[in-house]
Protein backbone atom coordinates (compact mmCIF):
# COMPACT_ATOMS: atom_id res chain seq x y z
CA UNK A 1 0.00 0.00 0.00
CA UNK A 2 1.18 3.52 -0.80
CA UNK A 3 2.12 5.88 2.01
CA UNK A 4 2.30 9.60 1.29
CA UNK A 5 3.49 12.61 3.28
CA UNK A 6 1.93 15.80 1.97
CA UNK A 7 3.83 18.84 3.22
CA UNK A 8 4.06 17.64 6.83
CA UNK A 9 5.68 19.70 9.57
CA UNK A 10 6.10 19.05 13.26
CA UNK A 11 6.77 21.68 15.84
CA UNK A 12 8.03 21.36 19.43
CA UNK A 13 7.39 24.69 21.09
CA UNK A 14 8.84 27.28 18.73
CA UNK A 15 11.27 24.81 17.11
CA UNK A 16 10.41 23.20 13.80
CA UNK A 17 11.65 19.61 14.01
CA UNK A 18 10.27 18.63 10.61
CA UNK A 19 9.58 21.25 7.93
CA UNK A 20 7.10 20.69 5.08
CA UNK A 21 8.26 17.25 3.98
CA UNK A 22 6.52 15.68 0.97
CA UNK A 23 7.24 12.09 0.11
CA UNK A 24 5.51 9.10 -1.48
CA UNK A 25 6.61 5.53 -0.84
CA UNK A 26 5.13 2.95 -3.19
CA UNK A 27 4.04 -0.63 -2.54
CA UNK A 28 6.93 -3.06 -2.15
CA UNK A 29 9.57 -0.35 -2.10
CA UNK A 30 12.47 -0.24 0.37
CA UNK A 31 12.98 3.41 1.25
CA UNK A 32 16.01 4.50 3.26
CA UNK A 33 16.02 7.67 5.33
CA UNK A 34 19.41 9.12 6.27
CA UNK A 35 20.54 12.33 7.90
CA UNK A 36 22.66 13.63 10.77
CA UNK A 37 21.55 13.31 14.41
CA UNK A 38 18.61 15.57 15.17
CA UNK A 39 17.65 16.05 11.53
CA UNK A 40 14.07 14.93 12.24
CA UNK A 41 14.19 11.34 10.98
CA UNK A 42 12.52 9.75 14.02
CA UNK A 43 9.79 12.39 14.15
CA UNK A 44 9.06 11.97 10.45
CA UNK A 45 8.85 8.19 10.90
CA UNK A 46 6.42 8.59 13.81
CA UNK A 47 4.23 10.83 11.68
CA UNK A 48 4.38 8.33 8.81
CA UNK A 49 3.36 5.58 11.27
CA UNK A 50 0.40 7.72 12.31
CA UNK A 51 1.30 7.86 15.99
CA UNK A 52 2.19 11.55 15.92
CA UNK A 53 -0.15 14.03 14.25
CA UNK A 54 1.63 16.60 12.04
CA UNK A 55 1.36 20.27 13.11
CA UNK A 56 0.55 20.98 9.48
CA UNK A 57 0.23 18.93 6.30
CA UNK A 58 -1.16 15.40 6.24
CA UNK A 59 -0.20 11.76 5.89
CA UNK A 60 -2.17 9.60 3.46
CA UNK A 61 -2.43 5.83 3.74
CA UNK A 62 -3.60 4.79 0.30
CA UNK A 63 -5.94 7.69 -0.50
CA UNK A 64 -7.23 8.23 3.03
CA UNK A 65 -5.82 10.73 5.56
CA UNK A 66 -4.27 8.57 8.28
CA UNK A 67 -5.92 10.65 11.03
CA UNK A 68 -9.34 9.63 9.70
CA UNK A 69 -8.58 5.90 9.98
CA UNK A 70 -9.03 4.12 13.32
CA UNK A 71 -5.78 3.41 15.20
CA UNK A 72 -6.61 -0.25 15.05
CA UNK A 73 -6.90 -0.32 11.25
CA UNK A 74 -3.71 1.69 10.87
CA UNK A 75 -1.92 -0.84 13.09
CA UNK A 76 -3.20 -3.67 10.90
CA UNK A 77 -1.40 -2.01 7.99
CA UNK A 78 1.64 -0.24 9.44
CA UNK A 79 4.06 -1.61 12.04
CA UNK A 80 6.73 0.52 13.71
CA UNK A 81 10.02 -0.62 15.23
CA UNK A 82 11.22 2.16 17.50
CA UNK A 83 14.76 2.84 18.62
CA UNK A 84 15.69 1.09 21.87
CA UNK A 85 12.19 0.51 23.22
CA UNK A 86 12.68 -1.09 26.62
CA UNK A 87 10.40 -2.32 29.40
CA UNK A 88 10.46 -2.76 33.18
CA UNK A 89 8.17 -5.79 32.97
CA UNK A 90 9.63 -9.27 33.28
CA UNK A 91 8.22 -10.57 30.01
CA UNK A 92 9.44 -13.40 27.81
CA UNK A 93 10.39 -13.19 24.14
CA UNK A 94 7.11 -14.84 23.21
CA UNK A 95 5.10 -12.36 25.33
CA UNK A 96 6.77 -9.48 23.50
CA UNK A 97 6.06 -10.96 20.05
CA UNK A 98 2.45 -11.79 20.99
CA UNK A 99 1.86 -8.06 21.56
CA UNK A 100 2.08 -7.75 17.77
CA UNK A 101 -1.28 -9.49 17.49
CA UNK A 102 -3.01 -6.72 19.49
CA UNK A 103 -4.57 -4.94 16.48
CA UNK A 104 -6.11 -8.21 15.27
CA UNK A 105 -7.68 -9.24 18.58
CA UNK A 106 -10.93 -8.16 20.17
CA UNK A 107 -13.67 -9.53 22.40
CA UNK A 108 -15.26 -10.99 19.25
CA UNK A 109 -12.03 -12.38 17.78
CA UNK A 110 -10.09 -13.83 20.71
CA UNK A 111 -6.66 -15.46 20.56
CA UNK A 112 -6.72 -18.34 18.06
CA UNK A 113 -4.52 -20.84 16.21
CA UNK A 114 -4.15 -18.20 13.50
CA UNK A 115 -2.48 -15.85 16.00
CA UNK A 116 -0.32 -18.68 17.31
CA UNK A 117 0.92 -19.27 13.75
CA UNK A 118 1.62 -15.60 13.10
CA UNK A 119 3.74 -15.45 16.25
CA UNK A 120 5.61 -18.65 15.35
CA UNK A 121 6.26 -17.36 11.80
CA UNK A 122 7.53 -14.03 13.11
CA UNK A 123 9.86 -15.72 15.60
CA UNK A 124 11.17 -17.99 12.85
CA UNK A 125 11.72 -15.07 10.45
CA UNK A 126 14.16 -13.43 12.88
CA UNK A 127 15.70 -16.71 14.04
CA UNK A 128 14.48 -16.38 17.63
CA UNK A 129 12.21 -19.41 17.84
CA UNK A 130 14.58 -21.28 20.15
CA UNK A 131 14.78 -18.31 22.52
CA UNK A 132 11.00 -17.90 22.76
CA UNK A 133 10.86 -18.67 26.47
CA UNK A 134 13.85 -16.52 27.41
CA UNK A 135 13.30 -13.49 29.62
CA UNK A 136 13.54 -10.12 27.86
CA UNK A 137 16.03 -8.86 30.45
CA UNK A 138 18.56 -11.57 29.62
CA UNK A 139 18.70 -10.66 25.91
CA UNK A 140 21.54 -8.79 24.20
CA UNK A 141 20.86 -5.60 22.26
CA UNK A 142 20.83 -7.45 18.95
CA UNK A 143 18.43 -10.09 20.26
CA UNK A 144 16.10 -7.40 21.63
CA UNK A 145 16.11 -5.64 18.26
CA UNK A 146 15.24 -8.90 16.53
CA UNK A 147 12.38 -9.45 18.99
CA UNK A 148 11.05 -5.97 18.20
CA UNK A 149 11.16 -6.80 14.51
CA UNK A 150 9.39 -10.10 15.19
CA UNK A 151 6.70 -8.20 17.11
CA UNK A 152 6.26 -5.89 14.12
CA UNK A 153 6.10 -8.89 11.75
CA UNK A 154 3.49 -10.58 13.95
CA UNK A 155 1.34 -7.53 13.19
CA UNK A 156 1.38 -8.80 9.56
CA UNK A 157 1.72 -5.27 8.23
CA UNK A 158 1.94 -4.28 4.58
CA UNK A 159 4.17 -1.34 5.57
CA UNK A 160 7.05 -1.73 8.01
CA UNK A 161 8.73 1.36 9.48
CA UNK A 162 12.03 0.90 11.29
CA UNK A 163 14.00 3.56 13.17
CA UNK A 164 17.72 2.74 12.98
CA UNK A 165 17.25 -1.00 13.50
CA UNK A 166 20.98 -1.75 13.22
CA UNK A 167 22.12 0.63 15.95
CA UNK A 168 24.17 -0.97 18.72
CA UNK A 169 24.45 -4.25 16.84
CA UNK A 170 27.62 -6.05 15.85
CA UNK A 171 28.35 -6.29 12.13
CA UNK A 172 26.99 -9.82 11.80
CA UNK A 173 23.62 -8.87 13.29
CA UNK A 174 23.55 -5.61 11.33
CA UNK A 175 23.87 -7.51 8.08
CA UNK A 176 21.45 -10.26 9.08
CA UNK A 177 18.79 -7.71 10.04
CA UNK A 178 19.29 -5.78 6.80
CA UNK A 179 19.09 -9.01 4.81
CA UNK A 180 15.94 -9.94 6.71
CA UNK A 181 14.36 -6.56 5.93
CA UNK A 182 15.33 -6.88 2.25
CA UNK A 183 13.68 -10.32 2.07
CA UNK A 184 10.36 -9.18 3.52
CA UNK A 185 7.59 -8.86 0.94
CA UNK A 186 6.38 -5.57 2.40
CA UNK A 187 6.91 -1.87 1.87
CA UNK A 188 9.76 -0.82 4.13
CA UNK A 189 10.76 2.62 5.35
CA UNK A 190 13.96 2.47 7.33
CA UNK A 191 16.07 5.16 8.99
CA UNK A 192 19.74 4.25 8.74
CA UNK A 193 22.90 5.67 10.20
CA UNK A 194 25.32 3.88 7.89
CA UNK A 195 25.29 5.47 4.42
CA UNK A 196 26.79 2.33 2.88
CA UNK A 197 23.83 0.34 4.21
CA UNK A 198 21.51 2.94 2.63
CA UNK A 199 23.15 2.12 -0.73
CA UNK A 200 21.14 -1.14 -0.76
CA UNK A 201 17.75 0.64 -0.64
CA UNK A 202 15.57 1.20 -3.72
CA UNK A 203 15.44 4.90 -2.96
CA UNK A 204 17.01 7.12 -0.33
CA UNK A 205 15.80 10.36 1.24
CA UNK A 206 18.22 12.71 2.96
CA UNK A 207 17.02 14.74 5.96
CA UNK A 208 18.91 17.87 6.98
CA UNK A 209 17.67 20.33 9.60
CA UNK A 210 14.10 19.01 9.42
CA UNK A 211 13.90 19.24 5.62
CA UNK A 212 13.97 16.46 3.09
CA UNK A 213 16.76 17.81 0.91
CA UNK A 214 17.12 15.00 -1.63
CA UNK A 215 15.18 11.91 -2.73
CA UNK A 216 16.13 9.35 -5.35
CA UNK A 217 18.15 6.25 -6.14
CA UNK A 218 21.05 5.95 -3.67
CA UNK A 219 23.82 6.35 -6.27
CA UNK A 220 22.27 9.63 -7.38
CA UNK A 221 21.45 11.25 -4.07
CA UNK A 222 24.43 10.03 -2.03
CA UNK A 223 26.84 12.13 -4.06
CA UNK A 224 30.10 13.38 -2.60
CA UNK A 225 28.83 17.00 -2.76
CA UNK A 226 25.59 16.15 -0.93
CA UNK A 227 27.45 14.17 1.74
CA UNK A 228 29.83 17.06 2.31
CA UNK A 229 27.04 19.67 2.73
CA UNK A 230 24.75 17.51 4.85
CA UNK A 231 27.14 15.42 6.95
CA UNK A 232 30.18 17.73 6.92
CA UNK A 233 32.56 14.99 5.83
CA UNK A 234 34.42 14.43 2.60
CA UNK A 235 33.63 11.18 0.86
CA UNK A 236 35.12 9.25 -2.03
CA UNK A 237 33.23 6.61 -3.96
CA UNK A 238 35.01 3.28 -4.37
CA UNK A 239 33.91 0.31 -6.44
CA UNK A 240 33.96 -3.18 -4.94
CA UNK A 241 35.88 -5.31 -7.47
CA UNK A 242 33.91 -8.43 -6.41
CA UNK A 243 30.49 -7.19 -7.57
CA UNK A 244 30.87 -3.61 -8.81
CA UNK A 245 28.88 -2.18 -5.87
CA UNK A 246 29.54 1.44 -4.88
CA UNK A 247 31.09 2.04 -1.49
CA UNK A 248 31.59 5.29 0.35
CA UNK A 249 34.83 6.03 2.13
CA UNK A 250 34.78 8.99 4.54
CA UNK A 251 37.49 11.49 5.43
CA UNK A 252 37.02 13.68 8.49
CA UNK A 253 37.36 17.42 7.95
CA UNK A 254 40.12 18.90 10.10
Amino acid sequence: MKLTADGVSWQAGATLIVQSVSLAVGAGETFGLVGPNGSGKSTLLKMLAGIRAPSSGRILLGDEPIGAISRRRVAQTIALVEQLADTIDRITVRDAVELGRTPWLSALSPWSVRDEEAVADALRAVGMERLATRSWHTLSGGERQRVHIARALAQEPSILILDEPTNHLDIHHQLSILALIARLPVTTIVALHDLNQAMACDRVGIMDGGRLVAVGPPREVLSTERIETTFAVRATICVDPSDGAHLLRFHGTP
Binding site: I78, E82, A85, T87, A96, L99, G100, T102, W111
Partner: protein, 341 residues
Protein backbone atom coordinates in the same frame (compact mmCIF):
# COMPACT_ATOMS: atom_id res chain seq x y z
CA UNK B 1 -5.57 -14.00 28.15
CA UNK B 2 -6.05 -17.33 26.47
CA UNK B 3 -4.64 -19.17 29.49
CA UNK B 4 -6.48 -17.18 32.14
CA UNK B 5 -10.02 -18.23 32.64
CA UNK B 6 -9.55 -21.83 33.69
CA UNK B 7 -8.40 -20.45 37.07
CA UNK B 8 -11.63 -18.51 37.50
CA UNK B 9 -13.16 -21.15 39.77
CA UNK B 10 -10.70 -20.18 42.51
CA UNK B 11 -12.33 -16.82 43.17
CA UNK B 12 -15.69 -17.80 44.76
CA UNK B 13 -14.35 -20.27 47.38
CA UNK B 14 -11.45 -17.97 48.31
CA UNK B 15 -13.78 -15.01 48.73
CA UNK B 16 -16.26 -17.11 50.74
CA UNK B 17 -13.51 -18.27 53.11
CA UNK B 18 -12.30 -14.68 53.50
CA UNK B 19 -15.82 -13.39 54.23
CA UNK B 20 -16.48 -16.14 56.76
CA UNK B 21 -13.13 -15.44 58.46
CA UNK B 22 -13.90 -11.72 58.46
CA UNK B 23 -17.29 -12.36 60.06
CA UNK B 24 -16.19 -14.87 62.67
CA UNK B 25 -12.88 -13.46 63.95
CA UNK B 26 -13.01 -10.51 66.30
CA UNK B 27 -13.30 -9.50 69.92
CA UNK B 28 -16.31 -11.79 70.24
CA UNK B 29 -15.35 -14.93 68.29
CA UNK B 30 -18.31 -16.38 66.41
CA UNK B 31 -18.01 -19.94 65.05
CA UNK B 32 -17.89 -20.31 61.28
CA UNK B 33 -21.04 -22.48 61.21
CA UNK B 34 -22.98 -19.66 62.89
CA UNK B 35 -21.72 -17.29 60.18
CA UNK B 36 -22.78 -19.73 57.46
CA UNK B 37 -26.18 -20.14 59.14
CA UNK B 38 -26.70 -16.38 59.19
CA UNK B 39 -25.64 -16.20 55.55
CA UNK B 40 -28.11 -18.94 54.61
CA UNK B 41 -30.91 -17.17 56.53
CA UNK B 42 -30.21 -13.80 54.99
CA UNK B 43 -29.32 -14.75 51.43
CA UNK B 44 -31.52 -17.74 50.76
CA UNK B 45 -34.36 -17.08 53.23
CA UNK B 46 -33.56 -20.21 55.25
CA UNK B 47 -35.04 -20.19 58.78
CA UNK B 48 -32.31 -21.83 60.87
CA UNK B 49 -32.31 -21.00 64.57
CA UNK B 50 -29.50 -18.63 65.49
CA UNK B 51 -28.67 -16.32 68.39
CA UNK B 52 -30.07 -12.88 67.55
CA UNK B 53 -27.11 -10.97 68.93
CA UNK B 54 -24.66 -13.17 67.03
CA UNK B 55 -26.73 -12.73 63.88
CA UNK B 56 -26.69 -8.96 64.37
CA UNK B 57 -22.92 -8.84 64.83
CA UNK B 58 -22.28 -11.09 61.83
CA UNK B 59 -24.68 -9.44 59.41
CA UNK B 60 -24.81 -5.78 60.44
CA UNK B 61 -21.24 -5.22 61.55
CA UNK B 62 -18.74 -7.75 60.34
CA UNK B 63 -20.08 -8.89 56.97
CA UNK B 64 -20.83 -5.39 55.75
CA UNK B 65 -17.35 -4.46 56.85
CA UNK B 66 -15.77 -7.45 55.11
CA UNK B 67 -17.64 -6.68 51.89
CA UNK B 68 -16.50 -3.05 51.89
CA UNK B 69 -12.94 -4.14 52.75
CA UNK B 70 -12.95 -6.61 49.85
CA UNK B 71 -14.22 -3.97 47.44
CA UNK B 72 -11.63 -1.43 48.59
CA UNK B 73 -8.86 -4.00 48.32
CA UNK B 74 -9.89 -5.03 44.82
CA UNK B 75 -10.40 -1.43 43.67
CA UNK B 76 -7.10 -0.13 45.07
CA UNK B 77 -5.12 -3.12 43.78
CA UNK B 78 -6.51 -2.56 40.28
CA UNK B 79 -5.76 1.15 40.55
CA UNK B 80 -2.15 0.12 41.16
CA UNK B 81 -2.16 -2.28 38.20
CA UNK B 82 -3.51 0.42 35.86
CA UNK B 83 -1.15 3.17 37.04
CA UNK B 84 1.90 0.89 36.88
CA UNK B 85 1.00 -0.23 33.35
CA UNK B 86 0.17 3.20 31.94
CA UNK B 87 2.92 5.21 33.66
CA UNK B 88 5.52 2.47 33.06
CA UNK B 89 6.56 2.83 36.66
CA UNK B 90 6.92 0.05 39.21
CA UNK B 91 6.26 2.46 42.08
CA UNK B 92 3.03 3.95 40.74
CA UNK B 93 0.20 3.60 43.24
CA UNK B 94 -2.76 5.87 44.05
CA UNK B 95 -1.37 6.52 47.53
CA UNK B 96 2.21 7.32 46.46
CA UNK B 97 1.07 9.52 43.56
CA UNK B 98 -1.01 11.68 45.88
CA UNK B 99 -4.38 10.61 44.40
CA UNK B 100 -5.52 9.35 47.80
CA UNK B 101 -4.32 12.55 49.47
CA UNK B 102 -6.24 14.62 46.92
CA UNK B 103 -9.34 12.50 47.50
CA UNK B 104 -8.97 13.03 51.27
CA UNK B 105 -8.76 16.78 50.79
CA UNK B 106 -11.87 16.75 48.62
CA UNK B 107 -13.79 14.54 51.03
CA UNK B 108 -12.75 16.56 54.10
CA UNK B 109 -13.65 19.82 52.38
CA UNK B 110 -17.12 18.45 51.66
CA UNK B 111 -17.53 16.87 55.10
CA UNK B 112 -16.36 19.90 57.06
CA UNK B 113 -17.79 22.58 54.79
CA UNK B 114 -21.00 20.54 54.75
CA UNK B 115 -21.67 20.96 51.05
CA UNK B 116 -24.59 18.76 50.02
CA UNK B 117 -24.24 15.97 52.57
CA UNK B 118 -24.63 12.23 52.35
CA UNK B 119 -22.38 9.70 50.74
CA UNK B 120 -22.57 10.70 47.10
CA UNK B 121 -21.50 14.28 47.52
CA UNK B 122 -18.66 13.16 49.77
CA UNK B 123 -17.52 10.82 46.98
CA UNK B 124 -17.94 13.58 44.42
CA UNK B 125 -15.75 15.89 46.50
CA UNK B 126 -13.21 13.09 46.83
CA UNK B 127 -13.27 12.52 43.04
CA UNK B 128 -12.66 16.19 42.31
CA UNK B 129 -9.76 16.15 44.78
CA UNK B 130 -8.35 12.92 43.32
CA UNK B 131 -8.56 14.18 39.74
CA UNK B 132 -6.99 17.51 40.70
CA UNK B 133 -4.15 15.70 42.48
CA UNK B 134 -3.46 13.45 39.49
CA UNK B 135 -3.49 16.35 37.03
CA UNK B 136 -1.16 18.34 39.28
CA UNK B 137 1.26 15.45 39.81
CA UNK B 138 1.27 14.53 36.11
CA UNK B 139 1.89 18.15 35.11
CA UNK B 140 4.69 18.46 37.66
CA UNK B 141 6.31 15.25 36.44
CA UNK B 142 6.05 16.44 32.86
CA UNK B 143 7.54 19.83 33.71
CA UNK B 144 10.40 18.03 35.44
CA UNK B 145 11.02 16.08 32.24
CA UNK B 146 9.46 12.86 33.54
CA UNK B 147 7.82 11.98 30.22
CA UNK B 148 8.31 8.28 29.78
CA UNK B 149 11.08 5.71 29.95
CA UNK B 150 12.78 3.64 32.57
CA UNK B 151 15.26 6.31 33.69
CA UNK B 152 12.56 8.89 34.33
CA UNK B 153 10.69 6.50 36.63
CA UNK B 154 11.77 8.33 39.79
CA UNK B 155 10.48 11.72 38.67
CA UNK B 156 6.78 10.95 38.91
CA UNK B 157 7.24 9.46 42.38
CA UNK B 158 8.96 12.66 43.51
CA UNK B 159 6.12 14.65 41.97
CA UNK B 160 3.73 12.37 43.88
CA UNK B 161 5.50 13.16 47.14
CA UNK B 162 5.17 16.88 46.45
CA UNK B 163 1.48 16.42 45.59
CA UNK B 164 0.80 14.29 48.68
CA UNK B 165 2.48 16.83 50.96
CA UNK B 166 0.51 19.69 49.43
CA UNK B 167 -2.86 17.94 49.69
CA UNK B 168 -2.16 16.63 53.20
CA UNK B 169 -1.32 20.18 54.24
CA UNK B 170 -4.54 21.44 52.65
CA UNK B 171 -6.49 18.75 54.49
CA UNK B 172 -4.94 19.72 57.81
CA UNK B 173 -5.64 23.37 57.03
CA UNK B 174 -9.31 22.71 56.27
CA UNK B 175 -9.65 20.64 59.46
CA UNK B 176 -7.92 23.25 61.61
CA UNK B 177 -9.95 26.09 60.15
CA UNK B 178 -13.43 24.58 60.03
CA UNK B 179 -13.75 21.53 62.26
CA UNK B 180 -14.39 21.46 65.99
CA UNK B 181 -12.22 19.30 68.24
CA UNK B 182 -14.47 16.27 68.12
CA UNK B 183 -14.89 16.42 64.31
CA UNK B 184 -11.14 16.84 63.96
CA UNK B 185 -10.44 13.72 66.01
CA UNK B 186 -12.91 11.68 64.00
CA UNK B 187 -11.53 12.91 60.69
CA UNK B 188 -7.92 12.28 61.66
CA UNK B 189 -8.83 8.69 62.61
CA UNK B 190 -10.72 8.22 59.33
CA UNK B 191 -7.82 9.63 57.32
CA UNK B 192 -5.57 6.79 58.42
CA UNK B 193 -8.00 4.29 57.03
CA UNK B 194 -10.74 2.93 59.21
CA UNK B 195 -13.59 0.53 58.63
CA UNK B 196 -15.25 0.87 62.06
CA UNK B 197 -18.15 2.96 60.88
CA UNK B 198 -18.88 0.90 57.78
CA UNK B 199 -22.45 -0.46 57.37
CA UNK B 200 -24.50 -1.92 54.52
CA UNK B 201 -25.35 1.43 52.83
CA UNK B 202 -21.59 1.90 52.30
CA UNK B 203 -21.44 -1.44 50.54
CA UNK B 204 -24.01 -0.24 48.00
CA UNK B 205 -21.45 2.31 46.88
CA UNK B 206 -18.36 0.12 47.28
CA UNK B 207 -19.67 -2.93 45.38
CA UNK B 208 -20.56 -1.07 42.14
CA UNK B 209 -17.27 0.86 42.31
CA UNK B 210 -15.24 -2.34 42.64
CA UNK B 211 -17.26 -4.06 39.88
CA UNK B 212 -16.70 -1.03 37.64
CA UNK B 213 -12.95 -1.25 38.21
CA UNK B 214 -12.89 -5.00 37.50
CA UNK B 215 -15.05 -4.68 34.38
CA UNK B 216 -13.10 -1.76 32.90
CA UNK B 217 -9.76 -3.45 33.58
CA UNK B 218 -10.83 -6.78 32.11
CA UNK B 219 -12.19 -5.02 29.04
CA UNK B 220 -8.80 -3.30 28.64
CA UNK B 221 -6.53 -6.29 29.30
CA UNK B 222 -4.90 -6.07 25.86
CA UNK B 223 -4.60 -2.31 26.11
CA UNK B 224 -2.73 -2.64 29.40
CA UNK B 225 -0.45 -5.27 27.83
CA UNK B 226 0.16 -3.05 24.80
CA UNK B 227 1.80 -0.41 27.03
CA UNK B 228 4.64 -2.86 27.82
CA UNK B 229 7.08 -0.90 25.64
CA UNK B 230 5.57 2.52 26.31
CA UNK B 231 2.86 4.78 24.92
CA UNK B 232 4.29 5.15 21.39
CA UNK B 233 4.58 1.41 21.09
CA UNK B 234 1.00 1.02 22.31
CA UNK B 235 -0.12 3.53 19.66
CA UNK B 236 1.72 1.59 16.96
CA UNK B 237 -0.13 -1.55 18.12
CA UNK B 238 -3.44 0.15 17.39
CA UNK B 239 -4.33 1.51 20.83
CA UNK B 240 -6.08 4.90 20.95
CA UNK B 241 -3.61 6.00 23.61
CA UNK B 242 -5.12 9.31 24.76
CA UNK B 243 -8.65 7.95 25.01
CA UNK B 244 -7.58 4.80 26.86
CA UNK B 245 -5.34 6.73 29.25
CA UNK B 246 -8.12 9.20 30.03
CA UNK B 247 -10.68 6.44 30.58
CA UNK B 248 -8.47 4.14 32.64
CA UNK B 249 -6.94 6.86 34.80
CA UNK B 250 -10.35 8.50 35.18
CA UNK B 251 -11.84 5.24 36.46
CA UNK B 252 -8.81 4.75 38.72
CA UNK B 253 -9.28 8.20 40.23
CA UNK B 254 -13.03 7.63 40.61
CA UNK B 255 -12.67 4.26 42.32
CA UNK B 256 -9.87 5.54 44.57
CA UNK B 257 -12.03 8.54 45.47
CA UNK B 258 -15.04 6.39 46.35
CA UNK B 259 -12.93 4.07 48.48
CA UNK B 260 -11.25 6.99 50.27
CA UNK B 261 -14.62 8.61 50.94
CA UNK B 262 -15.81 5.36 52.54
CA UNK B 263 -12.82 4.22 54.54
CA UNK B 264 -10.13 6.91 54.40
CA UNK B 265 -6.85 6.64 52.62
CA UNK B 266 -5.42 3.15 52.91
CA UNK B 267 -1.89 3.05 51.53
CA UNK B 268 0.24 0.51 49.74
CA UNK B 269 -2.51 -1.89 48.59
CA UNK B 270 -2.02 -0.76 44.99
CA UNK B 271 1.72 -1.28 45.34
CA UNK B 272 1.99 -4.54 47.28
CA UNK B 273 -0.73 -6.60 45.61
CA UNK B 274 0.15 -6.14 41.91
CA UNK B 275 3.84 -6.83 42.60
CA UNK B 276 3.10 -9.91 44.68
CA UNK B 277 0.76 -11.18 41.96
CA UNK B 278 3.37 -10.63 39.24
CA UNK B 279 5.53 -13.13 41.11
CA UNK B 280 2.67 -15.63 41.19
CA UNK B 281 0.92 -15.27 37.80
CA UNK B 282 3.39 -13.25 35.70
CA UNK B 283 3.14 -9.81 34.12
CA UNK B 284 0.47 -10.40 31.47
CA UNK B 285 -2.71 -8.60 32.42
CA UNK B 286 -5.00 -11.46 31.38
CA UNK B 287 -4.10 -13.14 34.66
CA UNK B 288 -2.71 -10.17 36.57
CA UNK B 289 -5.98 -8.20 36.59
CA UNK B 290 -8.26 -10.92 38.06
CA UNK B 291 -5.52 -12.19 40.39
CA UNK B 292 -4.81 -8.70 41.73
CA UNK B 293 -8.50 -7.97 42.28
CA UNK B 294 -8.94 -11.20 44.23
CA UNK B 295 -5.72 -10.86 46.21
CA UNK B 296 -6.48 -7.21 47.01
CA UNK B 297 -9.89 -8.20 48.35
CA UNK B 298 -8.46 -10.97 50.54
CA UNK B 299 -5.52 -8.79 51.68
CA UNK B 300 -7.77 -6.02 52.93
CA UNK B 301 -10.17 -8.39 54.70
CA UNK B 302 -7.13 -9.97 56.40
CA UNK B 303 -5.68 -6.56 57.30
CA UNK B 304 -9.03 -5.57 58.79
CA UNK B 305 -9.15 -8.74 60.89
CA UNK B 306 -5.63 -8.09 62.16
CA UNK B 307 -6.41 -4.45 62.92
CA UNK B 308 -9.29 -5.63 65.15
CA UNK B 309 -7.45 -8.28 67.14
CA UNK B 310 -3.81 -7.16 67.37
CA UNK B 311 -4.40 -4.84 70.37
CA UNK B 312 -7.18 -6.28 72.58
CA UNK B 313 -9.94 -3.80 73.25
CA UNK B 314 -8.70 -1.31 70.69
CA UNK B 315 -9.10 -0.94 66.93
CA UNK B 316 -6.00 0.02 65.00
CA UNK B 317 -6.52 2.02 61.79
CA UNK B 318 -6.31 -0.48 58.90
CA UNK B 319 -3.91 1.88 57.11
CA UNK B 320 -1.35 1.15 59.82
CA UNK B 321 -1.48 -2.57 59.03
CA UNK B 322 -1.23 -2.10 55.25
CA UNK B 323 1.65 0.35 55.71
CA UNK B 324 3.49 -2.08 58.01
CA UNK B 325 3.29 -4.66 55.22
CA UNK B 326 3.65 -2.19 52.36
CA UNK B 327 6.65 -0.11 53.38
CA UNK B 328 9.06 -3.10 53.43
CA UNK B 329 7.67 -4.25 50.07
CA UNK B 330 8.22 -0.73 48.71
CA UNK B 331 11.84 -0.96 49.87
CA UNK B 332 12.21 -4.39 48.29
CA UNK B 333 10.94 -3.11 44.92
CA UNK B 334 13.41 -0.21 45.07
CA UNK B 335 16.33 -2.53 45.71
CA UNK B 336 15.24 -5.16 43.21
CA UNK B 337 14.46 -2.54 40.56
CA UNK B 338 18.01 -1.25 40.84
CA UNK B 339 19.47 -4.73 40.54
CA UNK B 340 17.16 -5.48 37.59
CA UNK B 341 18.56 -2.60 35.56
Amino acid sequence: MRRGWRWGWIAPPVLLIAFVAGASIGETPIPAHTVLTVLANKLFGAAFAVDRIDAGIVWNYRLSRAVVAACCGAGLALAGVVLQALLRNALADPYLLGISAGASTGAVAVAVAGVGGGMVSLSAGAFIGAAAAFVLVAALARAAGGGAGVQAAGVIVLAGIAGSQLFNALTTFVIAKSANAEQARGIMFWLLGNLSGVRWPDAWLAVPAALLAVAVCIYHIRTLDAFTFGADSAASLGIAVRRCQALLIGVTALVTAIMVSLVGSIGFVGLVIPHAMRFVVGVRHGLLVPASALAGAVFLIASDIISRIVIPGQVLPIGVITALVGAPVFALILVRGRAGR
